[in-house]
């Protein structure tokens, strides 16, 4: 069947529904947020329409730069941890029997059904002094007394990697299933060890997929605001936590919107840089 370019207006019909959805649920709310970010905050009240940069000015300080820097660092770390864990895992998964694969995928999908709240409280119990995993280590005689593993950066990282891991595997899975097995076979015939074949053949062949996955997990992790609160100390709070504070608890919508817009811009900028760097690497 030959694919023809749309001729009549009605040929565009199938596009109307998704386009409308995109406008109603993405473009309009996002535009509203940008507009609100320029509004004037009424202290002790809400806000009035205006056009001013005060909200952005307040954001440009060392304090918020540090928080933004931490948020980006955390999201990058989560993305790297997830990909480092998920690529070998998914590769091995695709080499398993069909039935085993289905069991694993269903288990991973069921993790997705857990809300962030449940994940947060579950890990805070697991990491607690009174009921946590250190009690098992004490029972096994490895540790002398139970101790709390939270609040800490490690706890935040664990929770967030746990939450993002299923997404990572699900994004990598199709690409790895489609990977031509003869590539690794050829490498093996030429004398490469399985590990060498994995790193010199499989990983480079998947470079684009891996970059895309890194970006996806990065953006996913950047929006996290509950896990840093439940598992971390205040210095581990992400910018999203402060945005929530402003929006929900201080009812300072303009400032919250300005921070959110700034976060989106920085994110888009970083993603664009990554994509550009990827293209250059390919051209070389």
């Amino acid at each position: 069947m030959r694919r023809e370019a749309p001729q009549k207006l009605s040929d565009y019909g199938p596009l109307f529904f998704p386009a409308t959805m995109l406008i109603v649920f993405f473009v309009v709310p996002f535009a509203t947020m940008i507009a609100v970010s320029f509004f004037q905050r009424q202290q002790g009240g809400f806000y009035v329409p205006a056009f001013q940069f005060a909200n952005y000015e307040r954001f440009l300080s060392l304090f918020f730069a540090n928080v933004l820097g931490f948020s980006l660092m955390l999201a990058v770390t989560v993305a790297i941890c997830c990909v480092v864990l998920a690529v070998p895992f998914t590769y091995l998964l695709t080499r398993m029997r069909r039935k085993v694969q289905i069991v694993w995928l269903v288990a991973l999908l069921s993790v997705l059904s857990l809300s962030e709240v449940i994940i947060g409280f579950a890990w805070s119990t697991l990491f607690s002094r009174t009921a946590g995993i250190t009690n098992l280590l004490v029972m096994a005689g490895i540790m002398s007394e139970a101790k709390a593993l939270l609040p800490s950066f490690g706890a935040v990282l664990t929770g967030m990697v746990y939450q993002a891991f299923p997404y990572t595997v699900l994004v990598l899975y199709p690409a790895l299933v489609r990977l031509d097995p003869t590539l690794t076979e050829a490498a093996r015939t030429l004398g490469a060890s399985p590990i060498k074949a994995f790193f010199t053949v499989v990983v480079p062949a998947l470079r684009n997929t891996i970059t895309a996955t890194l970006i996806m997990v990065f953006i996913f992790a950047l929006g996290s605001y509950l896990l840093p609160q439940l598992l971390g100390r205040p210095q581990h709070w992400t910018l999203s936590v402060l945005i929530t504070d402003q929006a929900i608890y201080q009812s300072n919508m303009p400032f919250a919107a300005a921070m959110a817009v700034f976060l989106v811009l920085v994110t888009l900028g970083l993603v664009a840089l990554t994509v550009l760097a990827g293209r250059k690497g390919e051209a070389a």
Binding site: R41, Q42, Q43, G44, G45, F46, F63, N66, V67, F121, S124, S128, R129, T130, A131, A148, P151, Q229, L230, P234, Q235, W237, L242, D245, A247, I248, Y249, Q250, S251, N252, M253
Partner: protein, 362 residues
């Protein structure tokens, strides 16, 4: 048994039965909608459960108005939702229990429908400061309950109850405290001022507030958890994971009555007395029912019932109620309370919030 399973039930039959079942389940709510009803926002958790169990059924019996209790979050989340909804002409709850800071902020946008005191006969029972007024004298809200935030400890970890807020500053309590995460709901500036600076008047000037912040910074190494969500701290306090902190006197009392190893102490500097108002959203169409409800809640007998069953401190004058000394002591104290400086959270909220966030995050 197997014969039954083998019976061939058509897809349509299953769908039809499902539909019939669903519409039967929906029927009572259609019938109920014709009666008088009122949506009441109450803080979620113990508070809402207690109201559902002890207060609302009797109110419905006495007045014929059905109450749909809505669990509202504390802080200003509910205020934001109410305000956004009112702009769209909606009222997620008709009457809501609102904090004093939220009352002031709601006043700024005329969110609260003025109440007609002629329809609230029991309003005269209230202690004056529990009638919340607009600057021009219209009544914005009526004191619903008041409550204390006190010094709470886990009894397994602390055999002796602490006697002063100074315990927060004790280096022996490193990494053991759970404190509220926001400047406007923890009232720790007031506590610092009362404990170390001679009273909350010390916060009149920015220099005074700065002094309080500096003193408060010394508490930071002792804090394990800055909580926004009460459930998070309550759980940790009960288990002894975080054995000391600030928490609600009434909720702690109820938890102790349930057999948990927790206690609430009024420090010698006084507990923090905060209060909530019943306020009516201007988008509500249930104005009559709301007045009946607020009047009912302002009766001395109901306030006494709240003290006994929910553990809140009454908003009506003590002499009108039949509370015994012991019952009164269980919810309140003769020690002069620390009254929060709500005006600061109205006039200096952004500055305070910024300093506070830098203090705990930085």
């Amino acid at each position: 048994m197997t014969d039954f399973l083998k019976q061939n039930i058509g897809r349509r039959a299953v769908l039809g039965a499902g539909l019939a079942g669903a519409s039967m389940l929906a029927m009572p709510s259609i019938l109920r909608a014709q009666d008088k009803s009122l949506k009441v926002g109450v803080y979620g958790g113990y508070f809402k459960d207690s109201f559902d169990k002890n207060i609302f059924p009797d109110f419905t019996k006495a007045t014929g108005i059905a109450v749909e209790a809505i669990a509202e979050p504390t802080g200003e989340a509910w205020l934001v939702q109410l305000d956004q909804a009112a702009k769209a002409g909606q009222a997620p709850a008709d009457v809501s229990m609102m904090s004093q800071v939220a009352m002031l902020k709601g006043q700024a946008t005329e969110l609260w429908a003025p109440l007609d005191m002629a329809k609230i006969k029991n309003g005269s029972n209230l202690i004056d400061r529990f009638v919340n007024k607009y600057p021009d004298g219209r009544v914005a809200g009526i004191g619903a309950v008041s409550w204390y935030i006190t010094l709470v400890t886990n009894t397994d970890v602390y055999k002796e109850a602490p006697t002063s807020w100074q315990a927060f500053w004790d280096p022996a309590n490193a990494d053991k405290l759970g404190l509220l995460a926001l400047v406007s709901n923890s009232f720790l500036l007031e506590v610092t001022a009362k404990t170390f600076l001679g009273g909350t008047n010390a916060l009149d000037t920015e220099e005074g507030i700065q002094k309080a912040f500096d003193k408060l910074a010394e508490v930071k190494p002792n804090v394990r958890l800055w909580y926004r969500d009460e459930a998070q701290f309550e759980q940790a306090l009960k288990s002894g994971e975080i054995p000391m902190g600030q928490y609600y006197h009434d909720v702690t009392g109820l938890a102790a009555a349930d057999g948990n190893p927790v206690r609430s102490t009024f420090p010698k500097e006084g507990g923090i007395q905060d209060s909530g108002c019943w306020a009516l959203s201007r988008a509500s169409t249930k104005v009559e029912e709301a007045h009946v409800f607020i009047d009912y809640m302002s009766q001395p007998s109901i306030q006494a019932l709240l003290s006994r069953k929910v553990g809140t401190s009454p908003t009506v004058k003590r002499e009108l109620m039949d509370l015994t000394d012991a019952e009164f002591a269980a919810v309140s104290s003769d020690i002069e309370p620390i009254i929060p400086r709500y005006d600061l959270y109205q006039t200096k909220s952004d500055w305070l919030n910024q300093k506070w966030t830098e203090l705990i995050v930085g």
